[in-house]
Symmetry: C2
């Protein structure tokens, strides 16, 4: 397997400047079913926009019967739902690739689970009345910058079928409180099961269109490319992944794990955006055994697991891997892609037992 | 000046593993007088401990007349104060040094300002009754690991005079809510004016001692060393620093700034733990001019500032520097130290005006 430390790869200043802005979740944060707001992962392409909730409006237009312009109170007055959703950055695991694309250098920690409250998108779209020949909805956020040589607002699209799934929300609360600015205040899209790039933050406009959207973040970024000649398949739902809370305690700054010999319960979480998690396996030094799954906490949320280990003195390597009900299982060998998308190579944790 | 990008220095895997756990504040977060919890900087040496607030106790002992053991309700029932405090990591700016110590690689963003609520430490110490020959109080947290070759809990000390300052709190709320786990739940020390290492999180024990504390995080770490032969002076209060919100909008991933020509108000914050901020200067391409300070928001909080700029087309370099009432002013040339402590070299922001 590729190991960044062993490979001797080094991180550039561009990557560091992103890593000190964006936020991974320390993996011990998986103790919590629902991630505290300040521990949830965060990836922002440009700057966090400053939106005045009084002046802010969501405009719904394009191929619709009635254009809508809604304030935050309008949206809050509609039927509300709260769902527990595990969200992961499509670039999670990018920094373990070799060669490594220059972007946010995630190792494993671009994850989080929150209770999101909002109103189903379908209700708003029904009110606007989608034209029959609508094929996609384009969701535009207020974050503005230059990417791929273009000056643009961040924007992504969904097919009508995906957009009308009942679990797709226009979300204004996270864990029971108004969104913090960095998570999309005052309103964001929430698309359970998909990688985080789909859940457009700081939403300002929804446009119904009759042709597939060709914007940069839809048609160029977030694709499985093997070279920049071919467009590649688009990235969509989260691939299965299991992560463990590294057992024992760490060194600073190296973060090597140390553990006393004897019985230890190794715990973690597993999720997939494609099908329910069916199995989690844990290996110690290459021997795979089944972990025990805990009760589900929600259709779109990670699933807890645990594994009893009788730790014997010496160095060990623990690993975990998830399989979902579609039969998709995490790889032991890394399939590489140019953008560093969806790298769900199994996590390995070295532990020194004393 | 030292510039990491220009120097071609690269970041190691150890530094990246820290950077994806710890959290800087995106500098546009300086828009807010009080930083949202999830945007505040975070530095954790070991793992975030899992403390059960029901079973947790704070023990006060050592050279005292009465040992105390207090639960969270005991502490919450005491007189409460709320103060607005700017906190900064002592390692802020470390990644700009050359050569660079291997630790958390902050550029400029290890800052945040919160409204902390707690009970003054002095009241608790009065109740315990400090022995007359007490010289220091040792504050021990629950975070456990190996650092400097020792297995230990994170611990720092304060002199009796510092500990009895009325603004020193045992804090259980941040921005009006219970501390999130990563900020020290259920209780942390809060020492306004000092770098963040002093405000021990996950506090479990306070011990009065008659000799200066020689623990690793007090006597070895957090010192201004020029080599590892000499102990160096201890790091204490925050040096003056001004930071600006980078104007315009960025590229992704490089984060170069782009701006339209014409009038623009450049804004930022400045603070010092040693004396009030007296002056902030801004330079465009090396010419320094005074910025306008906004009204103070608290004795221990950062001060806002603004500067009107008539941006002309082409590339420019903006910089800002603070001077406090003691006459201490940020340096234009970096004084180096072995641990990368307290690097308050002025911030520079390159801007392309069109």
């Amino acid at each position: 397997m590729t190991d960044l430390a062993e490979s001797g790869q080094l991180i550039t200043h561009t990557e560091l400047a992103l890593a000190t802005r964006n936020r991974g979740m320390p993996l011990e944060g998986m103790r919590h079913d629902v991630t505290p707001v300040g521990l949830h992962y965060l990836l922002v392409h440009f700057d966090i926009p400053a939106l005045d909730p009084g002046g802010w409006r969501l405009r719904i237009g394009g191929n619709v019967e009635r254009e809508l312009e809604l304030g935050l109170d309008d949206i809050r007055s509609r039927p509300a739902e709260t769902i527990t959703v595990t969200m992961e950055c499509a670039g999670n695991g990018r920094a373990r690739l070799e060669p490594r694309p220059i972007s946010q250098p995630w190792l494993n920690e671009a994850i989080g689970t929150a209770r999101w409250t909002g109103t189903p998108l379908g209700g708003i779209l029904a009110e606007a009345g989608l034209g029959e020949d609508t094929v996609e909805l384009i969701f535009t956020g207020a974050d503005h910058g230059i990417e791929g040589g273009e000056e643009l607002d961040y924007a992504r699209s969904l097919t009508v079928d995906e957009a009308l799934r009942p679990s797709v929300l226009l979300a204004y609360e996270m864990n029971g409180r108004p969104l913090e600015p960095q998570h999309g205040f005052p309103l964001r899209l929430l698309v359970p099961g998909w990688y985080g790039m789909t859940s457009v933050k700081w939403l300002t406009r929804i446009e119904a269109v009759t042709e597939p959207f060709e914007g940069y973040h839809q048609a160029v970024a977030y694709h499985f490319q093997t070279d920049d000649e071919e467009p590649g398949e688009p990235v969509s739902r989260m691939r299965p992944r299991a992560l463990m809370i590294p057992p024992g305690f760490p060194d600073f700054p190296e973060r090597t794990r140390h553990l006393d010999r004897g019985a230890v319960t190794v715990r973690g979480r597993a999720w997939s955006g494609r099908a329910p998690i069916e199995r989690v396996e844990v290996s110690c030094d290459g021997v795979w055994r089944d972990a025990t799954l805990t009760e589900p906490i929600g259709e779109w949320a990670w699933r807890g697991w645990s594994w009893e280990w009788d730790a014997t003195p010496g160095p060990h390597v623990l690993a975990c891997r998830a399989t979902d009900a579609s039969g998709d299982r995490q790889p032991l060998v890394q399939p590489w892609n140019l953008q560093g998308m969806s790298n769900n190579l199994v996590q390995e944790v070295g532990v020194l037992v004393r």
